[in-house]
Amino acid sequence: MSVTVGADGIKDVTTPLSDADVESLKAGDRVRISGVMYTARDAAHDRLFPLSEKGERLPIDVKGHIIYYTGPTPAQPGQVVGAIGPTTASRMDKFTPALLKLGLKGTMGKGYRGQPVKDALRQYKAVYFGAIGGAGAVLSRHVKKLEIVAYEDLGTEAIRRLEVDKFPAIVLNDCHGGDLYQDGQKQFAREG
């Protein structure tokens, strides 16, 4: 619903996201995300994709939302969730453009995306966020509520609706063609 810049220079992002919100985000921006996100990884995408291909209704409304590529560890008694860091996003590349076309405004994971996904980010105005891979314990503290909303039989790969508060992330690929991996690594490369 909004992107505002905090006093510390970090952008506060509240979901759902509009085209204008997406346009204001640039590769390299540090962000804190609050609101709703959905989790989905390999197995859930494998089920969502045929539905989107056939134009059938998905079990979640992706419009304006963020899909976080993660499979959390089980919650211990009294916890909302266990560790919840990102998985490698490129495994979902095959499915992503179709979901962006349906109005998905963000994906979050780790690692490079393929060119078709980067092109789709520009075409449909969406953003690819990075969460710190392997920081599962720290990230779990930002999840305030968790509910399984589809494909419960997939276990850790089921689709979960998360309510997050100030979830720390960084913009890896923006809708203007910006790419943090490319820019960041170029600065420090001393060997080809």
Binding site: G111, G130, I132, G134, A137
Partner: protein, 280 residues
Amino acid sequence: MRDIHVSAIADAVKKLCMEANVSLEPDVLRAFDRALTTERSTAGKQVLTILKENAALAAGQRIPYCQDTGTVVCFVELGQDVHVTGGGLDDAINEGVRQGYKEGYLRASIVKSPFDRVNTGDNTPAVIHVDVVPAATLKIMIMAKGGGCENRSKYTMLTPAAGLPAVKDFIIECVKTAGPDACPPLILGVGAGGTFEKCAILSKKSLFRELGSPNPDPMLDALEKELLERANRLGIGPQGYGGDTTALGIHILTYPCHITSLPVAVTIECHAHRHKEATL
């Protein structure tokens, strides 16, 4: 002959799995501290600082360090004067994994078959390697091996004529292709020599050496240092955001090999280098 009951083995494995996943070993934490003194990138420093916070929170609250609690890779050194009683060794190890992953609230990440992709539900089976050694003890070393980095591990068969320069280039190429997917800063386990399967196993086993410790072979030690410096000149940096800390260590183990062969395997390990060992 010394009897060791399977229940003692299962219990040890259970504890190692639970502990490894919440509490990083001191060698990894020291490597983060060393990297913080040399890293020039602001984003890189932020990542390393968050990784330290993550390690402290995981150990303090007993939350897994990473949600990918891995495949359990288990190296066993079975003393030839030990008699395992009450059942099979592999079954005992898998029982320990089953109990540890359940009681530790760790993720079940193993599918029954690479083709049907149905989850086994308890993270079994482990991948088990057993060496029989002249001893009356049973040493168990486990690693919770993450999938993201494992997927970037590589093997090649070089020619003797291509030699060491080709080995070096292959290892550096592995770091490049691993990139951010494998969660840098990375640790590289290299196995060279032996056969196709031998060097792959050595590449895993090499990761159990203390991070930051010298290779006992001076030639390999110099090679490790040279390659680490090259890897860290690539600019990939923590999480691939750009920086000087792409790898925390490179460990090499070698084995004699055939006159025609120069096999090399590289296991890519992420910063969540979860390893523990116990001796019964």
